[in-house]
Every structure is written in structure tokens, then in C-alpha cells.
Amino acid sequence: MQTKRLFTIAIACLLAAGCAKTTKPDEDATDVVGADGEISRQTGIDTGAVAGGTEYLEPGMLPGDSTLIQETVIYFDFDTARIRPDYSEALSAHARRLVGNQGLNVRLEGHADERGSREYNIGLGERRAQAVRQVLMLQGVSAAQITTVSYGEERPAARGSDEAAWERNRRVEIVYSE
């Protein structure tokens, strides 16, 4: 999980670095128009050994989605299953991918922090997984492509009994399977 997040950050940094370089014309650069109309740019290395390449898109996906779908963990505030607005782009990208690939299935794994009773926390984790499921289904994903499972507090992502650990544990993980 940690490595996946790091990877997402690394991609974002590469994109940012590419953008910063746009003052200097670069023949290897490829402009990409994102879902929100923003322009991002990938840049090749000066030696010319590696070309810039373009984003690989599965059917139904929009430019920028391959970055967005690397966001596979949705975090929640205390005692709520409300999805924060900053996840809507990533969830839309996941929805486009699933709509465009009917053979693709996804498992939504809901989790809670460790406070309170265990089976009730299974309920809270399920509520979060269902909130993500609803968002995906509203954007056209078939119910048959989605399963949910709630682990409650049984599989924490972070150890410890402080707010920092609890924040990382209140989450839904999006797990793809063929």
C-alpha cells in the first residue's frame, strides 16, 4: 500500500517536473489534456535514450485516468462514511475504467479505526465500502462487478493508538481482479 502511494507521488512529481520545464521547448514532450481541462506534459530525458511516450488508456478511460486510478485508498473522517470531495475525480476514473471493461471486477474493502466494539466496527467499515460502491454505481458501474467486504478494525494499515494511526485506518481499499 505504502509503495503504491509513493508511486503515485513519484508520478505526480515527474509530471510537475515536466511542467516546470515547459519554458524550454522540448521536442520529446507530449501534451495531455486532463479530465478537468488541465494540461500536463511528460518530458523525455536529454540523452534521447528514452522517449517520452504517451499515457496508456484502457477502453473507456480518459486522458489522466491512469494516474487517477493509482489512488486506490479512500480515507474517511471519524465516525462517518461521507466521501470527501477531493476523491471524486479518482472515483470517476475508477468508474470509467470499470464501465469500459465489463470483465473487470473490483472488491471494496472497508475498514474502521480500533475504537469501540469489533462487530459494530465491521458495520462501520461496510458502510464506508457501500458509500464507495454507490458512487461507482451512480456512474454506471454494474453491481455485478462490485463486491464489498468489511474488515472493521481487524486489519489495520497503521499500528498505534493515536489520531495519526486512526486516520490511516479509516479507509476503503479498492482492489481489482480479473
Partner: protein, 436 residues
Amino acid sequence: MILRRLTSMLITAIALLSAAPAVAQLRIEINRGVSEAVPVAVVPFGYDGPGQAPIDAAGVIAGDLERSGRFAPLPDDDMISQPTSGREVNFTDWRLLKTDFLVIGSLLDQGADRYLIRFQVFDVFRGAQVLGFQIPASANSLRAASHRAADMIFEKLTGTPGAFSTRIAYVSVTRQGEKDLYRLFVADADGANPRMISESSQPLMSPGWSPDGRRLAYVSFEGSRSAIFVQELATGKRTEVSARPGINGAPAFSPDGRWLALTLSGQDGNLDIHVLNPATGQLRRLTKNPAIDTEAAWSADGKAIYFTSDRSGGPQVYMVPVDGSGGARRITFEGRYNARPRVTPDGASLAVVHNDQGNYRIALVDLETKSTHILTDGRQDESPSIAPNGSMIIYATRVAGRGTLAAVSTDGRISQTLAAAAGDVREPVWSPYPTY
């Protein structure tokens, strides 16, 4: 280099070999006992048989009485005499030592794996026997027979049946490299004899005893989904009784052992209380509410089910009749969080997880007066389970960041910690009385 690798492999192997029992064994420490604990002397038992006595029965009995918090056994070294039969008892010795009660006994090896534990209890002040009994045993059941003797002594002296012959099921979690290993254990009530009955790299949770103490229901997440299993302890044979889409959780046997209350959510994630007859597959839905309804507990007479629901906003305890004759009625009102009810054997109170100013604690709710009495002082106390004699509540707590078991008497006066050597232990459930 190779030598070093070999050495480190050897050390790992030794660590693995020795880890299993050390991890599993629980050690009971008494944090708080009653100040008026009754002074009692349990004299080392005589032994009539070849070689050394196969068990220190007096030690087991004295340990049980001491851990109850209600008795203060006299150290062996302080005894003026160590009688093993009634004829040898000199009550003046014991009055001098300010002992209220005296327990003496002997172990007889009758050959062919047959033993007899004989014991007598004397009221020292009156100089009279109050209890005399003998229990047959095999080598394998000597420990159980000693606990049974302690149960009888406890009942004679306190008026409450002892619960030393009972067992405790619990979940232990240890890290194996990057992964967690979940194990379900059953141990004697004093923490001895831990036996692993199930093991998984996916979570195991919510163990619950059948009323005859012969089976355990529990939830397993093997295969990345939840399912409820019932496992026979004697054979290890287990049956999957519910693996429906969505949540299969919180199993609880009915008092007659025929039904299992459980939480099912279906694909749309609406958790409701159901009852299932595992033998026939008959399933009935008891609640129908968009809120979370879970953590069923049967009333003592089996006619109603108490459960946790957050239909009013936060989790509170509700009750619903099992025969479908009425809707759910709210039971708890004090505080914003009352969950996971367990009914006391007399049916008069519920043990719950209660949020007390941000701390999760074990509380008893009086069903008649509705008053809440907080029994513990931890920050994350959960999973209360009541001894079949109603005297103690075992629960899970955290000590120095580790999951630990603890017990508190229902009157709040006695508290104990049951520490495991390593890893987290959680979800303790007290067995019913054994059937003899």
C-alpha cells in the same frame, strides 16, 4: 558466512519452536482483591502411589481460590503441621495461624490410569468438617478434577458456584514478518492448557460457545470474505454455516443450542439480526432497519435478543422478541455509546461497552432501573463476557499498546490481568459450565 547463516537459521528455528507455547500461555495477575479476603489453608495433598505425585492438586486449588480474589491462602512454609487426613488435624495450630478454613486431602493412584482425589474442608473456629468429597480421575483429567474440587469448595464457602472448571476462548494475533497470524485458542479458566483450534492469515473473530461447551462458532475471513463456522472442539471438525453475500458476523448460540443468532448484511450492506437453524438451514430475519443492527445476545430464557443498533444516531442496545411478536425496543439511554451487550446469568443486567468521556469501558446496565455502573478504567476496553456463575466479567483491554485480557468482578471489587507473553490477545469468551 555460511556458518553464520546456519547459526541464524538455527536460532530462528529454536525461537519458532519455543514461541508457540510461550505466546499462548496466559498469566493471571491480581490487580485488586477484596480487603476482607478469607484466610484459608490448603495443605499439600498426600500421595499414595508409585513415584512422584502426577499433580499438585492442593496447588491448583489454592491458586484458584487466590485468583478469585476472595480468599488468601496461607503459604506452605507458614504451616505448623501438614495433615493429610482428618485424624491428623490439630485445630489449635490453625487457630494460632488465624486461618478460617482448612482444606486437606490426598491423591490415590489406583492403577490402570485410575486416580481418586479425596478432600475435606474444615471450619477451624468450630472445629468441624463442612465438606468431604472424592472425585475419580484419569491422568489426563487430574487437573480438571482439581478445578472441580476448587469449584465445590468455593461454592460451600461463598454460596456461589465456582467457575474454575470453565474455559476461555480467545483470539491471539502475532506478527509473522509482514503478515499477521490470527489464532483461536481455548484455555482453562486459569490460563493453563492453551490449545489452538484454528489458525489463519486472515482475521478470525467473534468466537461464541455452544451452551453444552462442546462447539465454538466464529467468523473467519479466509478467501477475502466473511463466513461463520461452527467447530467441534473434540474432533476439530468444522462446518461452514453461513457464507452469504455481504457480512456474516457476530454468531451467538441460543440457550437451547438449536439456533444461531447472526448478523447478515446482504449485498447492499444493511446489517440486520437474523436467526438460523444450522441443522435445517431455516433462516428468519428479526430486524429490518437501514441502520447497523449487530452483536446479538440471547436473553437467559431464549425468548428475546439484545443487540447493538445505531438507528438513533449512535450505537445503543435494543431488544427484540425472537418469535416476531413485536418490534425492537430501546434498552440503554445513558451516554452516547453502548454496544455489544451480554446478559448476566440471572437475566437482571447487561454488560456493555460504554463510552465514558471518550474512554471505552465495560459497564453493567441494570435492566430494571436502567442505571449504568462503570466497572473498568481503561481507555479501550471491549468484548465483555460473563462467567457462568455471574461473578466475573472477562474483557479485552490494551496495556502498553498491546491487546491484553483482563477480568473484573461484577461488583467491581476484584480485578485481574491475564497477560500473554507476546502478541495481541483479544475477544475472550467464557465457556458455560462443563457437563459432567
